[in-house]
Symmetry: D2
Subunit: 377 residues, 4 copies
């Protein structure tokens, strides 16, 4: 079988997974397989004497956990986190913070079939090709449960950003249903008003209906999440390669099921003239020395560095790969087979992806904030 892979995949070798770490100073490493003993993360580079508690991390984890509402998976896991190190008497020590969540729901029976075939648009095939081995239970390492470690780390990153910074993500569109364009930051309570996490009530209700209908038909849908961060100082981000928008793009495209990223005007900006797209500097208040721009097509970054205007970006999520409809595929033995998504799954990942987008954004910005302090004169 291995030989066969080597032939049909033109693979020279099997490799280990690198790339489980994100960040330069605030460094997050996640670990764990969906149905192994535990998933979690180590946060290295977190400053000491910050107030961090299990409760706080749990609050964010609860926003991503399954079984929250009738539009997400019915699987119900508590996802209770434990801090193993780095916190002493409620304060960070400045040492590595290890957070774990034990995997309670480990029934493997659902997954016997998956071990033998490659689900369409899942990572089964590429993991087989790359590693020559995979944990088939719940997708193993490629499961969205890996993001638990990201959300836990994001909760700590938000503490570094502090209360001056407001960071919010929300569902902008589901399939063809989009909320009306909104220039300002929506209220958190509007985002949380419905399980779909779209702050525009009427649109949210339409989205929920649409998602329920898709599930009823054994199908799934995707959509767009928008994220906005206000209150950041100018000067964050490290050109040339570590521009803030480049790090955000990487962070977002590293989230499972993402297909695109836009900062500021994004692709729509390509259909504007320079004279329309340029953001004009001015002083909103002649008594203050605050500098602002009349428009924000830049999305809050110039030359890879934050300008002090709100950061504003969008992330595209594909429809969930697991569907309840029968699909053709190939077995590991290269035979034609049929597969139907049995496992409990989300018909639309977006509502639960909102806290993940927030977490990754917080990690990028906390890292940039700490990096900024390294090299002062």
């Amino acid at each position: 079988m291995q030989k066969r892979f080597e032939r049909n995949l033109r693979i020279l070798c099997y490799e280990t997974q690198m790339g489980n770490t994100f960040g330069r100073i605030f460094r997050v490493t996640t670990f764990g397989e969906s149905h192994g003993a535990a998933v979690g993360c180590i946060i290295d580079g977190c400053p000491p004497m910050l107030p961090v508690s299990q409760e706080q991390i749990q609050k964010d984890l609860d926003r991503r956990r399954p079984g929250q509402s009738q539009i997400s998976t019915f699987r119900n896991e508590g996802d209770e986190c434990k801090i193993l190190s780095g916190v002493f008497e409620g304060k960070t020590l400045g040492t590595p913070i290890c957070v774990i969540v034990e995997n309670t729901d480990q029934r493997s029976s659902d997954y016997d079939e998956i071990a033998k075939l490659w689900r369409p648009s899942h990572a089964d095939y590429t993991y087989d090709a790359k590693y020559g081995i995979r944990d088939p239970r719940g997708g193993g390492r490629s499961s969205a449960r890996e993001t638990i470690g990201r959300v836990a780390a994001g909760a700590v990153a938000k503490i570094i950003l502090g209360s001056a910074v407001t960071l919010r993500a929300w569902v902008e569109s589901v399939h063809s249903i989009s909320m009306p364009l909104q220039k300002d930051m929506p209220a958190q309570e509007d985002i949380d008003a419905t399980p779909v996490r779209c702050p525009h009530k009427q649109t949210a209700l339409k989205m929920i209906e649409f998602i329920k209908k898709a599930r009823a038909e054994g199908d799934s849908v995707g959509g767009v999440i928008r994220c906005r961060i206000e209150g950041l100082p100018a000067g964050l981000g490290d050109p040339v390669f570590d521009r803030i928008e480049a790090d955000l793009a990487k962070a977002m495209l590293s989230i499972p099921a993402t297909k695109g990223f836009e900062i500021g005007s994004g692709f729509a900006g390509t259909r504007m003239f320079g004279s329309q797209h340029n953001d004009i500097f001015y002083r909103p208040d002649s008594n203050s020395e605050r500098v602002a721009t009349r428009t924000n097509n830049a999305g809050g970054v110039l030359g890879g560095i934050t300008s002090g205007q709100p950061l504003d970006f969008k992330v595209a999520f594909k429809p969930t790969a697991t569907i309840a409809k029968e699909q053709s595929t190939l077995s590991r033995e290269l035979a034609d087979v049929k597969v139907i998504g049995k496992g409990r799954h989300d018909p639309c990942v977006l509502p639960r992806a909102v806290p993940i987008v927030e977490a990754m954004a917080a990690i990028v910005l906390a890292d940039a904030l700490l990096a900024q302090k390294a090299v002062r004169i």
Copy 2:
């Protein structure tokens, strides 16, 4: 003045520029200011005994250099490269390869004004905010001349990819003018047939007219570059954070003037159902063990790992910030001033950005290819 910044930019300190290095094993560091002594790069982690010559690197540099055609800047620089190290008798030594291009055109007179104000949608303001100092001549470090080092490194990266891999980028749209959707890889000669680097002749001519018109009006335009890579083995890319699409997204968003990135179906994919979006595995030839998918909405990656299908992504470029129209802005002293783009500039950066997109893609893939070899059993 510094004090003022600290107040109005809420900056705690000035910092150095980090992030001038890209890659994990095949590592590229660029250096140089637009009008300093030289720009260039160091390539570390390049295997030994590869045939590398100045001519080869020069060939790629010539595709990005200014003054190539009547739709690019009139500034004319030879951009002749010199290899300072790492190559002996036409072969790489495996040691760091340093390539430099001396800056011949260093007239500063054009740039006195820029030193005193912040050009709209340029990095003048954010560099002042972050570093407290900048080289105003031609944008200094934020100039597109920095990309010379990237293109030089990309030329070496292509040698690592070898002849089995075909990597091509082209201009898909300029402003509202888009070429017809094309599933297959265009021919290189069609891409190079016109200075705009769009392989569809009629569309290319329209684009050229449109760009000329924009310049005549002292304005500028943006557009979309598409890139496609065929012949890659399955198994490249390192989940979780270093997914191939995440690294490509970072690489592309690190190119000046980029606003968005899409892999495969991208944002359009968010308006599809799972049953339409999933790429079905099959065997194109029952006598061969080759595995393929009937569609490629994934864009060649599953779970962050190449699937053996063509890599396919798009990059959005904003309209050139420098325009010949008068614009309002602020001086470093926060006074209201007017500015008109005097310096010679491109009315549309896309044609010259094509080799840059290719270079960054080649760097990402060469690095992934070398990384894949590190951890075999």
Copy 3:
């Protein structure tokens, strides 16, 4: 109090602990405080499909754990390890391997006093200075319990090195008692014959007596550990900065209580002439193409790269800082106070440091071995 530090330590700020990660491809991150919930490590970059079991890791952990013999601390902890991720059905997945050891012995009472003063030659003072906070229980992060994570990772690294490589460390001297110079690799059973881990029986017995006497007097002793690795291929190590001897030196000096490192001839080599020190190349067997050197003053490395001769280095350990004699010191309030080492401690760390030296050497070499594969042609 903080203010006071800022004055008397000329500290500008408090920082977090970075530097909890070692290695480039085979990357080990340790975490945990001595008396927190757990200590452990994450191993990233380990190839897939290697046979790894808890038993194997436990075997190495048992060699470093306290309470093994009458010359080590009386504290008795099982130090039972648990693999949380990265291993499936007895084989590595290529994903991050998280290993933890829960801290069973957490009585804090012993440590109340330590929180209030700075023990001589311990890290209490510098941790206070750097972080402004520390976990005083058992030295917190600066405790030798941190090395549990290293030994666990070393056990996995040894599997990568494989059976062709023989890696052994032993106690060469304790205080002024040294074993006779021995050119060849000692037998493992001779090393393990006595609790002091010196392969020369008569010397070992003298060392044990000496250590017991020191303990009886409430004092402590140091010594030298030697390590030898045979069976390595030529070509490991990455000049310029990542020379194999440079990485070994860093690895060894990162072990608590180390004061020096020598490769090959070491400091004695400085008293030789070049004509004596140079290792002459020859062919030990004219029928074979094997290349060897008549002497090995180099210690197995030339220009930072392994030569195929045995790697041979020494590490100096200072006497244990904790002693049962009364010593003067300062309290955190800068008052003159007395301190007597109450906690159970080793009068000589060397016997238990042997597996730690082996582990760090194995990690350095496994990393070099994997790095070597990355960049082949």
Copy 4:
């Protein structure tokens, strides 16, 4: 021939040179072969607005350049440096600083022979084994000319350390001739009083005679360099793995011809009892809050973190490998051959190694100083 290597060296592949970069925030990458077009470095992560000039860098380069005195090589190269980027109007921009020195003395004739054989205790053999290719002219990348880039970077690092920090290295012993033990920092003028850079006049004269005698006999000698740094704040260094002594050990063992490293009491400390070795904290001045220790066996570090006491370490250098005596060795074809060091060389590298030790120490400490600022609260 390659095949032969693969057999007799058990090499699986040839690799590129990684490890040309040192540092985490203040990052130095050196490049260049001894007789290529140029050697030099890129310094990334240097703060902006620091006064840096070619003159300043040249001053340090002149201390390491050949032909300074009758006890160093007769080869005479100006080693004139050029700053290509990162400095504008005498101030750092915070962008990468590229410094190059063109190789004027490139006569290859001397080196034809070296291409065909392996000089004893040189890197010819291991480079052939690892890379399968090498630039034989003057040792190519393994030449001490590589250290030019280190010294240039060190000159910039010293500016970051500032005038509060005093950093000096000197020759403590040559072969068996040692200067009397000296507790305090020697005066710079005493170090520079003789070409051997030993601050103790009578010892210096003996050393010079001894070196001249060795050269007359066609032989070479080694020795020990000691380095002391005063004025550092407490709190530098990042346990666990990036302890200040671990980074210093790596930095020093990365210098060509080094065989050992000691911090504080070093190997001598292994023959002391804990009660003698422990450094007792006290207040030298009851009116001040300054904390000091009565002894400094620690060498200025506790738990990997600077204590505010002077950093004090030693580095062992082996005798120069190139000697004018005939030696036996093997040709690349594995034939027995004789070799005599023809090239102009130093009979003792120590005097010229002093500025290299200083440079590497300055780089380690500047990096630690910048790292310390990253993660403040």
